[in-house]
Symmetry: C2
Subunit: 330 residues, 2 copies
DNA sequence: CAAGACTGGGAAACCGCTTTCCGGGGAGGT
DNA sequence: ACCTCCCCGGAAAGCGGTTTCCCAGTCTTG
């Protein structure tokens, strides 16, 4: 393992000079010495030891991203957006996947803290559990107390910079659009009751439906993933229009109806939420609420990096996109 | 930022003792001192500085994964498999995305080397460019010379541990299956000519078709992604059966046919390669060659970690899965 | 031409932790 | 009662860089 000292010796200069040449400095180094050092480094195949550099500089060039599940297109898009932004800043990315375990999330914050990453991004819904949220907050505070930066995509519950999608409003807007098509009997594939994202979307939808004076939607809980949607779609009763609180659940619902010979949108209309990229290849094309996912990821990174004093909350509106999976029943 | 020294002082013990208590050691520490240290660490909110630890120990607990594109289900599955395996070993994961730029791949190897990661995983096809491959090899050699471990998923071209999917054989097996269904006029959506993965699959397919004495398939090149498949599907002429060298291209092809009113499989049969997870929700269900993607990711990690002297190559067979997207024309 | 301002080079302190080495004290053996 | 051995605690030497500080030489400038 070749060190800076090896390079300095080979070039016949001091450690200080070698450092200044190779790893950047405010100070100038004469052209001939600089050339000698560069040649030596190249000959020896020198690579700076980032651990040493991080230690000496007291700051790393790594950021951490914590997601629930990388194979979920929602998180993949978010992470991709954040990673592109990070690459633009010359930062490396450390990714942690929690597989929806809040304890894992807390553990990752501790680990990222230990790694002294420049910033950590928490992507993914908060859960409705004050105890867990409290522990997460404490871990985050601990991290921030030592200079760490934090941003989160989701509910503004952590007292940190947040990119907050308008889940409630999106759900409501979708409900009004669907009602405008003449639907009156709704069902909601609502995901798990404790997941805030699922809850907000569902609540917005239900509230808007009631505001319109329509019958209360049937709410079916279940897992937040494709199979959850598949199963829950089996219990939508006589609803003519079904809202799955995210797209992957909606895709599962489509599969369920297809398997059971229920035609979409002829027999039942289906809508999702997020507008994940893969949606365009499903038939029928899914109605949804579009969120600029990649953009949200990069915005979260920018927020985290811009060391604002008071936490800023960046609200992101969703846009209802009507596609073939819903039928006009007027 | 609270350091181990702060903890030691607060606990009234030496730095050595504090280190032994908190960060693991072969040595024992008396129960009372141990308790004192633990309490002090907790009160102060101590988190070990991994940069310092990495430096002192000369080994980090981070591994690097380099993929083309995280939003591609193929890489997401691979990365997820590797990350699960890594988590099981108590390792953190640093992810780099190259967006299919080989230069980026080389740059990431250099960066991961600088980070002194324990191992790096290169997921994704090699390219047919000896110059680029040579530079990548040199960078890898440099990394391995300083104790780094490397594994790769794809072609065995780098002289490192490799998980090598049987692309050629898979393509050939698929061709035989499809021919067995009575197809004779084939087309291949072949992806870019320089991508080895694409080339091998295409070559295996074409060779098998010719071996069967059938007319030479029409080969259409294009990008390796969904849109590449969409576009290429427009030029399949009178083929009754189209093989897209990966699933996302096949999905693009399905969309293209759908948009143009060409029925699958009635008018044309379509097959892909990989069996990505999202496939089950497409209609018609796509025939493909199944690869155990998550498993391949974790196997690559295991290979990298098991410091074998000579590079081992782990061949992975694909399994033809016939689904509705192909028609029996006998 | 003397004096102050720069300039570029090197010695060494330091970043936070691990680990070797040393030493003191109690347990066990004879 | 004495000697060994073992156990556990602490001092200090690194790990590989960065950066402060000092110094000699070179450039202005009046």
């Amino acid at each position: 393992m070749v060190t800076l000292e090896d390079v300095a010796r080979q070039a016949g200069v001091s450690l200080a000079t070698a450092s200044r040449v190779l790893n950047g400095s405010t100070r100038q180094v004469g052209a001939d010495l600089r050339a000698r050092v560069e040649r030596a480094a190249d000959e020896l195949g020198y690579r700076a030891n980032m651990a040493a550099q991080t230690l000496a500089r007291g700051a790393s060039n790594v950021i951490g991203i914590v997601v629930h599940d990388l194979t979920d297109p929602y998180f993949a898009a978010l992470a991709d957006g954040a990673m592109r932004a990070a690459a633009g800043e010359g930062l490396l990315v450390m990714v942690g996947t929690t597989h929806r375990d809040p304890e894992q999330e807390i553990a990752y914050v501790a680990t990222m803290n230990a790694q002294r990453v420049r910033a950590v991004l928490l992507a993914g819904s908060r859960v409705d559990d004050p105890e867990v949220t409290g522990r997460l907050r404490r871990e985050l505070d601990r991290y921030r107390a030592s200079g760490g930066r934090v941003a989160c995509v989701g509910q503004d519950l952590l007292g940190v910079d947040t990119v907050a999608p308008a889940n409630y409003e999106g759900g409501a807007a979708l409900a009004r659009s669907l009602a405008g098509l003449g639907h009156t009997r709704f069902a909601v594939l609502a995901g798990p009751p404790h997941l805030m994202t699922a809850r907000d979307r569902c609540a917005g939808f239900v509230a808007a439906v009631e505001e319109l004076g329509l019958p209360e939607p049937r709410v079916v809980h279940g897992p937040f993933d494709r199979d959850g949607g598949y199963v829950a779609a089996g219990e939508t009763g006589d609803a003519t229009c079904v809202f799955a609180v995210n797209d992957v659940m909606a895709v599962g619902a489509l599969a369920s109806y297809r398997d059971r010979g229920v035609r979409v949108p002829d027999d039942v209309s289906v809508a999702g939420f997020d507008d994940i990229a893969t949606l365009r290849d499903h038939v029928p094309a899914l109605t949804t609420v579009r969120l600029p996912l990649a953009d949200m990821g990069s915005r979260a990174l920018v927020l985290a990096l811009a060391a604002s004093e008071t936490p800023t909350v960046d609200h992101v509106q969703g846009e209802v996109v009507l596609r073939e999976s819903v039928r006009d029943v007027r």
